[in-house]
Subunit: 287 residues, 2 copies
């Protein structure tokens, strides 16, 4: 069980940082916050998500924290840590919420002062909305929580992050290396977003709205996207994502070729393969 | 109001033909059936979807029908009509359920005996299942019903098909030319299916099932597909579908290029465009 006498600090009170603050406070933990914007910090204070918080001169909050959760974009997290990382106190174990891990986890682990440990994790609970004002709408229960330890991590930190995920309400907790995580996320999340965005950008489809059925609605639901965050995530993971786009494009090209040459057997073979794989998927995951 | 003294005949008791039979019988119409497979005909008889039916020697059923609904694939419908079309009686108005119209509607209209009229339509209520045994699961209320008249059609036939759609439970009834219909369907339905199939075929993703979230599930739901029907529909509409694939592929290529060159502004611009278009779409159609 997580020790409730420890002091928690959330750096970056956005959608996920805000939700962590809310859930930890609800569970009886002491939670402070650091945020760039005064408005959102005030929102978190007004709604009781945090006990106290600051937008600057926050060195004392860092030095007093036993655990820190960084709700920052990867580029911002790296820059923040370069500036303030030396202030973390010995014994502090901290994590992030970032959707990409390679190029982030190891540099930060190398910057950690003695006795300070970074155990990276990714709550796969994105939404089309952002900001602390929507934090309460996030539902962690059906989402995956991925822990990405390296050889630098101790069992103690892995136990801490696992128990934290449980307190936050995650029911599916698993472990991957940073590289495995980024390949997986390139396929199951980023490629899907790249496709949905391209489908909306391909055509000014406003005149077709009245004819669309479930398939178009399903494929484009995730085309409403926070452009700042997703540009960051796409660029950070660009090698994996480009490889996934190319692999997808090859399959689409194969389908196009079968169409163009009137190859009915080739089309049917692809349809049978996709049906078989999707059916296997349905068996593993209730729809 | 549709005249209940008229005799209805369903040719092809599949998923949609079966549903038409069921709804018309429920509404108090006299419905007979013609089907190739004895088993499915018997199912329709056993469940009271039709009053009587035959698998062969069905000339009397054709000659006695005031209205016929063809639940056949386009190729089958053309072949059937070449063989039996001369048997339709003067005054008979009939329709189909086919997902493609160009190359189907005009040839059949040209083959019609004097006094016989074909008014084409498309109930956009596809499902991942097929066959009459699943007909009762189909829900017409939220689906679009598209009528595709030509210059050959009379107001009387358009009134009939509109009232038929209402009796069947469709709440969204609209009209397009056959060419407009096929362009629309190439984008909102066929392109989406081509993408979903390609996404499943691109990668043996069985190991990734446990990490997938809503986005992957949404994008691949329609990858379970009846290979015979969809090969037929894709090939029948191949020029439109290839044009849509190419347009989509250009947008995806633009995104890939922005990624490869680290063009953050270019990515953000695409994300803003897709967000704006999808938001406009949400306003027009409740999600």
């Amino acid at each position: 069980m997580l020790d409730k006498s420890k002091r928690y600090l959330i750096v970056g009170l956005g959608l996920l940082g805000g939700k962590y603050a809310l859930e930890l406070t609800r569970a009886g933990f002491t939670v402070d916050g650091i945020n760039r914007s005064e408005t959102h910090l005030q929102y978190a204070l007004d709604h009781g998500y945090i006990r106290s918080g600051k937008t600057r001169d926050f060195e004392d909050l860092i030095q007093g924290a036993d655990h820190i959760i960084f709700g920052l974009y990867p580029t911002t997290l790296l820059a923040w840590f370069r500036q303030y990382g030396h202030l973390l106190k010995p014994g502090c174990i901290f994590t992030d919420v970032s959707g990409v891990k390679t190029g982030l986890v190891e540099p930060i682990q190398q910057m950690c002062p003695p006795g300070v440990e970074f155990i990276a994790s990714h709550p796969m609970a994105g939404r089309e909305t952002s900001s602390v004002e929507h934090a309460a709408e996030v539902n962690f229960a059906p989402a995956n929580f991925i822990i990405t330890p390296t050889t630098q991590n101790t069992p103690r930190a892995i136990v801490w992050i696992t128990e934290l995920a449980e307190v936050l309400g995650f029911e599916h907790i698993s472990t991957l290396t940073p590289a495995e995580h980024d390949r997986m996320i390139g396929y199951v999340s980023q490629l899907c977003h790249a496709i949905a965005v391209s489908l909306m950008c391909a055509n000014d489809n406003s005149a077709l709205c009245e004819y669309t059925g479930d398939s178009f609605r399903d494929l484009t639901r995730i085309a409403r996207i926070n452009e700042t965050m997703w540009s960051e995530l796409f660029l950070w993971n660009r090698e994996n994502l480009i490889a996934e786009i190319d692999q997808f494009d090859e399959a689409l090209g194969q389908l196009r070729q079968a169409l163009a040459s009137g190859d009915r057997a080739g089309l049917e073979e692809m349809f049978r393969l996709s049906t078989r794989r999707r059916a296997a998927f349905d068996k593993k995951q209730p729809d």
